[in-house]
């Protein structure tokens, strides 16, 4: 049984479990599933700096910060007890393409060749880690939510603005992955 759990879970197991987070949080305390809000609460708690957008009682949203702490702990538990020893299986096409950029380490779910402290000393590492993170935070708040708040909660409740946001997430992702990322990876 444990061996089975240690294997990567198929989409038809993981997707429904992720979907169940929506009713779980609603029934637990009438909370809408959303993750990027936690970044806003962090700003409001640490550096509100008189910016109106951060002038609110963030303590009322403590549940959201506790929830993301849980996600972090889930990562700790999975990496210690449920880890798949075989690394990650990547499609042949992608493996070939990435090899061209010197990305050959498939031992972890993150590409160790880019996502490492050493890579912060390289231009492509800085663009991907610092620049990418910034776009995620800025874009999510500008859009009013991220993949969880818009694509999962928003679509689950039939909100058309969330469908617009989700389509734009995908367009941005396609542009980056297919046309911009290859240039950055070549740096």
């Amino acid at each position: 049984m444990l061996d089975l759990i240690k294997q990567p879970w198929p989409w038809y197991i993981a997707g429904p479990l992720i979907g169940l987070t929506v009713p779980a949080l609603l029934i637990a305390g009438n909370k809408s599933f959303g993750i990027s809000s936690s970044l806003r609460h962090a700003c409001a708690a640490c550096l509100p700096a008189k910016v109106p957008f951060f002038q609110y009682e963030w303590k009322k949203e403590t549940w959201n910060l506790v929830f993301v702490l849980g996600i972090f702990l889930g990562g700790v538990i999975a990496s210690n007890f449920l880890v798949n020893p075989n690394g990650i299986q990547v499609t042949e096409n992608l493996t070939k393409e990435l090899a061209g950029y010197g990305i050959t380490d498939f031992s972890s779910q993150v590409p160790v060749d880019i996502v490492s402290w050493e890579s912060l000393l390289t231009l492509r590492g800085i663009i991907m880690l610092v620049g990418g993170g910034f776009l995620v935070g800025f874009g999510a708040r500008y859009a009013g939510g991220c993949t969880s708040g818009h694509s999962i909660t928003g679509l689950s409740t039939w909100q058309w603005p969330s469908l617009v946001a989700t389509i734009c997430f995908m367009i941005g992702g396609f542009i980056m992955a297919n046309w911009i990322l290859p240039v950055i990876l070549s740096l």
Binding site: F53, A78, F106, I175
Partner: protein
């Protein structure tokens, strides 16, 4: 120094762009938050086990090389829709007996501009905000950098919010 904000105004500010404004009328003890911690832990484990946090899986998704991520997101939305429908149909209450409410989202151009920028960042880091937390827990400690950067991005948005097109 605590800013003086009227209650109604306070709600409006939090409601702006925030997903989570469903406020409880009751006073809950601190341990009421444990249920969110447990939900988060289970959610984080699913994230790791389904390799949703993987940069490689995200690249496969945006290159249309694998169905995995589409299956995960699609079935998550299907289960979410069904759950919300059941909650509404049977008027399900929270564990504390409170009414479950749904906030309506207003459309603004931010969903387009912000959505595109978010998409660029998603494919670059291979992570949306949830996986950032899970990746750090998973042992990729350097992901603290993109997380802090994402918080900085959120802050910069808040600072320039009034001047940005919405």
């Amino acid at each position: 120094m605590q800013p003086i904000v009227e209650e109604e105004n306070e709600y409006a500010i939090r409601a702006t762009d925030a997903i989570c404004i469903n406020e409880s009328e009751q006073n809950h003890a601190w341990y009421g938050n444990i249920k969110y911690l447990i939900t988060g832990i289970l959610f984080g484990i699913v994230f790791i086990k389904a390799e949703v946090i993987s940069w490689f899986r995200i690249q496969e998704m945006f290159r249309l090389e694998s169905f995995h991520m589409y299956g995960v997101i699609g079935s998550a939305v299907a289960v979410g829709m069904l759950s919300v429908w059941l909650i509404k149909a049977f008027n399900v209450k929270t564990v504390n007996g409170e009414q479950i409410t749904f906030a309506k989202k207003q459309f603004n151009k931010g969903q387009i501009y912000g959505g595109l920028l978010f998409g660029l960042g998603w494919a670059l880091t291979g992570a949306c905000p949830g996986p950032l937390f899970a990746q750090i827990g998973f042992g990729a400690t350097v992901v603290i950098v993109p997380l802090l950067s994402a918080i900085a991005g959120t802050w910069v948005y808040g600072y320039f919010r009034e001047t940005l097109p919405h």
